[in-house]
């Protein structure tokens, strides 16, 4: 596991020394803090609006970081051939994949922790109370990002960087439209079309499983089973997708 840890740490170090990460984090923080302005300009409970916009910004910027950093950190390692010196050492290819993945999710996690703290402080200032449920929402977003980062890793070893980023972005978009896809399978006329969409529905993750924003914003009860299933669902997807990434990378000639 030492090699995995070293690769993950190097990936994390590379990201935190890249200016582009700070650009995203800066935007995210500005977005969360400026949600107070939206709260003042909109009719309704100001705190709820801040939470709503803040959580949406948290999810959006985490997704952006996962998609773009995967392109930079995994594809660049292969394209710039720094991977040669790693794989010539006593390191298995699955260790490289796992190390890069863990490095990527650590960056997303660090970003999420930062945005969550900023959001909690903003809510504390406005509402005068610490909303610990925002921590829960951050954790659920992290679960979603674990799945997305696994797909980003798979696409990074499967295809070219830009195409890989677009594919990861597509997983994010389609993953949040799973319910609509299911409805589509019920209503389309052609059996073949229905079957194709059903395959897409089952192959891609339903990212709405990690969306507890409404419950957190409106202080609604959250069923424990839903959380349990979300955790299981995320880890099952991560294991399967990383396994596929390793399968593809294992026999790949690097030129």
């Amino acid at each position: 596991m030492r090699a995995v840890r070293a690769i993950a740490a190097n990936t994390f170090r590379e990201a935190i020394r890249d200016r582009i990460l700070y650009l995203f984090i800066g935007f995210a923080v500005v977005m969360v803090v400026s949600s107070k302005l939206f709260g003042m300009l909109t009719v309704g409970d100001e705190t709820k609006i801040i939470k709503d916009i803040g959580l949406a910004a948290m999810q959006f910027f985490s997704m952006l970081i996962a998609v773009l950093m995967s392109m930079i950190l995994i594809s660049r390692e292969v394209d710039s051939r720094t991977v040669f010196n790693i794989l010539a050492k006593p390191v298995r290819r699955w260790q490289f994949i796992l190390g890069k993945y863990l490095g990527l999710v650590s960056i997303v996690a660090a970003n999420l922790v930062l945005i969550t703290i900023v959001l909690m402080l903003t809510v504390l200032v406005v509402a005068g109370q610490l909303d610990l449920m925002l921590l829960f929402a951050g954790a659920m977003t992290m679960l979603e990002m674990l799945v997305l980062a696994a797909f980003a890793t798979l696409f990074a070893v499967l295809t070219r960087p830009i195409l890989g980023s677009l594919m990861t972005l597509a997983v994010f978009v389609v993953g949040h439209m799973s319910a609509d896809l299911w409805l589509l399978t019920q209503q389309l006329p052609g059996a073949l079309t229905r079957a194709v969409i059903a395959v897409v529905y089952y192959l891609l993750p339903n990212l709405e499983r990690f969306n507890f924003r409404t419950e957190v914003v409106h202080d609604l009860a959250i069923p424990g089973t839903a959380v349990g299933w979300a955790v299981f669902y995320a880890f099952a997807f991560v294991v399967v997708v990383l396994f596929l990434a390793n399968l593809r990378f294992r026999g790949k000639d690097l030129k």
Binding site: R2, A3, R5, A6, I7, A9, N10, R13, E14, R17, D18, S80, R81, T82, F84, N85, I86, L87, A88, K89, P90, V91, R92, G251, D253, L254, K255
Partner: protein, 307 residues
């Protein structure tokens, strides 16, 4: 028989670039062995299959056929990889890391203990002459400095077999001399060195044995003296009393200066030249065989294969 540190048998590799492009057969049954303690040069023109062979040994690509053994172990085993120190062609580096951080990262991949690693980093930086510049990010390094750090990471695991892909390519004379010195020092310490190059003087200067690779096959193998001790390919003569342009013997090259003539003829035309100079009563100062050089040998194989 010396212990074999690297054995490559019948290595074959064909690349399939794309649906509408022809396959490229890069390795066509390449075989050779490197004995313990040797400095072994892998000499060939660009595109001969040198880097592909090294990538196959280091498991960066997978051969279609063939067997590779490192220190008696299958090359894919972690134990075999632990015994290899590898430096790739053109050092591919992390611009965000300092030289020292890069070595630390490399040492962690080798599984070295923290204390041992710190000690080795200091020693290796000293060996490659980078102690004073180890804490600068590698994005600011010159090519020579990058090559030194890359060589440092290859030495970090105290390898039994050092595999270097074009280690002196692109370096200035001082850099090349330094890399040569490091290779010689390692060999003196018992490390087997296998390096690819297309620079012939490098091979002539330091290699115990050399393999000439052209068109994905080893065309000749042996010590430099063995390889060049074949029949001379030509003769050079210096004489007075005859003009080269008047000679009927086919000349490869000729020159006339201050009354003395110099000509070079192919070996098969030597006797004809001697008779003609005798007929013209020329005064022959010297008639010397021109030894075959590695370059001649390389070019001969290169032309023979039609590469």
């Amino acid at each position: 028989m010396a212990e074999i540190q690297l054995s490559v048998k019948d290595l074959q590799k064909t690349f399939h670039p794309g649906l509408f492009e022809d396959s490229i057969e890069v390795l066509r049954g390449l075989s050779f062995e490197v004995a313990r303690g040797e400095i072994f040069g892998f000499l060939g023109p660009n595109g001969a299959g040198k880097t592909t062979t090294i990538k196959a040994i280091t498991e960066i690509i997978y051969p279609d056929r063939g067997e590779i053994m490192v220190c008696g172990l299958p090359h894919t085993s972690l134990e075999a990889k632990r015994r290899i120190g590898f430096m790739s062609e053109s050092p591919y580096i992390y611009r965000h890391l300092t030289g020292r951080e890069y070595l630390r990262f490399s040492g962690e991949l080798l599984g070295l203990d923290r204390t041992v690693l710190a000690h080795r980093i200091t020693r290796v930086l000293d060996q490659v002459g980078m102690s004073g510049r180890a804490d600068r990010t590698m994005g600011t390094y010159s090519k020579g400095m990058l090559q030194r750090v890359a060589l440092g990471q290859a030495l970090l695991g105290e390898p039994e077999l050092l595999i270097l892909d074009e280690p002196m390519s692109g370096l200035d004379p001082v850099g090349r001399r330094d890399v040569r010195d490091i290779i010689l020092t390692q060999a003196a310490a018992g490390v087997t060195v296998f390096f690819s190059t297309h620079i012939i003087p490098d091979v002539e200067m330091i290699c115990d044995r050399v393999a000439i690779v052209v068109d994905g096959r080893v065309q000749a193998i042996g010590s430099v003296s063995e390889l060049v001790s074949e029949e001379p390919t030509s003769y050079e003569a210096t004489f007075f009393g005859a003009v080269p342009s008047d000679l009927r013997t086919p000349l490869e090259a000729h020159h006339l200066a201050g009354g003395a003539s110099w000509v070079r003829v192919a070996t098969e035309n030597r006797d004809s030249l001697i008779h003609e100079l005798g007929d013209q009563e020329a005064k022959v100062i010297s008639l010397d065989p021109v030894p075959t050089t590695l370059e001649d040998l390389l070019m001969r194989h290169y032309e023979k294969t039609g590469s």
